[in-house]
Symmetry: C2
Subunit: 351 residues, 2 copies
């Protein structure tokens, strides 16, 4: 099969790889029908995160079950499935608490499982999925979704689940005022998640016309282009002299975290899903003095997918609009370039 | 009148001071019937916090309204009232959000109000209370509570409200497992608050037999004396191999914060009310990786008092048991010594 490999910074290649097979009784092999490039895939691409030799890459995909192991009873060949961005067991205390990203038997795509067996990356034609029944979410009644539905289902792998996690972590609910810091695919999904959860006032901080327009489509009531103290002043002005009840931090830099922190009202909530980089910290004394709630981290997509899936299937939300570009899998290198250069918000790859 | 002053580290004096009078239309003058020494009063006493000349001290008191200003209509002379540990307006956006400790017109006891007028400390015979209607909570139908009820009402000024804030911040609820770090009056009230909110398993970390016994009275199901990694291992063992859903940090040191952080399960919640000292911090990357929720700070006692008061009045909770010593106001210096030397959990002073 053809699959995407990263050899080092800036070096993405689509190569011939061995077609995966069922190796454990809990496995399924999924034929990938759509995958995509994540903002976090750009860290090794940009050399921010080290690459140790050629590695399979990609952690977001949807597709069709081709074969299953002997222990798999709730999935069958032909099922259309969504893969969350990590593989989890569904049975350990962390999974039972809904925190599948802390699964005691976790496996990552493009890495090895707990038995030391290779797990394919998501940016390829097929993937061996360990712990398949617990990991994959079947889309009921659908075998060949059209392009628009495929796009929305694919976002549940990661970006829509992550935007939702930011909103949940920031205690978004009916009537709450919300600021979203970051206008990438996750930030835009955060806007959509905030609207879905009942926020009435949603301020998206964006300086890109196309992203701001999509933020408005997703439910943003206001766009703020200013940053730093001027950004905070603008938020305060828009909200009638107070800061926001809930702030979603969807970038992870020191600047974005400070922007988020200083946009949150006393006693408000900050949900952060941008991986902290560049010295991003929150002084504990500041939290104490401001009574601000902080929560976030990696989204347990597997836990969130069922409720989000319902809303995708009935048309309540259409997060697939974050894909502004679709390319064949063979053009993966160009897909990375387009995202790296911010020519695209998010690129879908079709094997 | 007689009132307690702090002159410097270790130097507490009870002196003659001018009896307070109504100076603003929103004022009330309260005759103090019971007050007490707070753990945070020990910071200036120990020289951890600077003292700039002789200052009135004390921020927890209950008593009887003696006189009111022209604008006060919902309080009358003779009312028995509880004073939260800060004075707040009840009308600004922060107060309307329930975060009275961030009130835009906040005043502290023993300090000055926003008009520059002196506000008496709580450890004296009487106090001028600005913004009295918004600040004070009337205890309905009671004018002369007995000793036990007085003690419980007095805890609502601060320690019980603060223990409750720790529990609320740690998302304590029915069925949750809870660890409480700190066995001072606040930690003990945290145990009581956790039980009141429905926690089924409550582990109190205590190495003092008398405090551990009171923790059990308040609802602790287990006592852990170990600290550090051994304390974490003990928590994990008691909870069947997992860490706690909710952890209450009621000390504020680097060690106690680390103990709390490492006792919280992935996706769990840490509520902290100990003022961060000694380099206590929470690395943002740790929060990201563990998906732990963090919230806390000063309790908005004014917001919490009404619901806690109901439970005190109907006997559901008896937080007044944290007072293991009662002294006349004249013995304030001895009260500070007893608390400083940990001979007492909490000392009530009777003017």
């Amino acid at each position: 099969m053809r699959a995407t490999m990263i050899y080092g910074p800036g070096d993405i290649r689509v190569e011939d790889r061995e077609y995966p097979t069922v190796r454990l009784p809990g496995d399924a092999v999924v034929k990938v029908t759509a995958t995509c490039v994540c903002g976090s895939d750009l860290w090794p691409y940009r050399g921010v995160k080290a690459v140790s030799g050629p590695s399979a890459i990609g952690h977001e995909f949807v597709g069709i079950v081709e074969s299953i192991g002997a222990d798999v009873t709730e999935l069958a060949a032909g099922d259309f499935v969504i893969a969350p961005f990590v593989d989890s067991c569904g049975k350990c205390p962390q999974c039972l608490n809904g925190v599948t990203v802390a699964c005691e038997h976790i496996a990552g795509w493009g890495d090895t499982d707990e038995h030391g067996l290779f797990v394919d990356g998501g940016q390829g034609q097929a993937v061996r999925v360990p712990q398949a029944e617990a990991t994959l979410v079947k889309v009921p009644g659908i075998t060949e979704p059209g392009d628009a539905l495929t796009a929305s289902l694919l976002t549940l792998s990661d970006v829509m689940a992550t935007g939702h996690h930011a909103a949940v972590s920031a205690n978004v609910g009916p009537g709450r005022s919300v600021v979203v810091v970051g206008d990438g695919a996750v930030g835009l999904c955060g806007v959509l998640a905030a609207r879905r959860l009942g926020a009435t006032r949603i301020i998206a901080m964006s300086r890109h016309a196309d992203r701001a327009a999509l933020a408005v489509t997703f439910g943003a009531t206001d766009i703020v282009a200013e940053r730093g103290d001027r950004g905070v002043a603008k938020v305060r002005e828009l909200l009638g002299g107070v800061l926001a009840d809930s702030v979603l931090e969807c970038v992870g830099t020191r600047e974005s975290m400070e922007q988020a922190l200083h946009s949150t009202r006393p006693g408000g909530s900050l949900g952060f899903v941008g991986v902290p980089t560049g010295g991003a910290e929150i002084p504990l004394r500041h939290l104490f003095d401001s009574n601000i709630h902080v929560a976030g981290g990696m989204a347990s997509a597997r836990t969130y997918i069922p409720e989000l899936l319902r809303d995708v299937l009935d048309g309540t939300i259409n997060p697939g609009l974050v894909f502004d570009s679709v390319m064949p899998l063979e053009d993966a290198a160009e897909a990375y370039r387009a995202m790296d250069q911010r020519r695209a918000i998010k690129v879908m790859l079709r094997p």
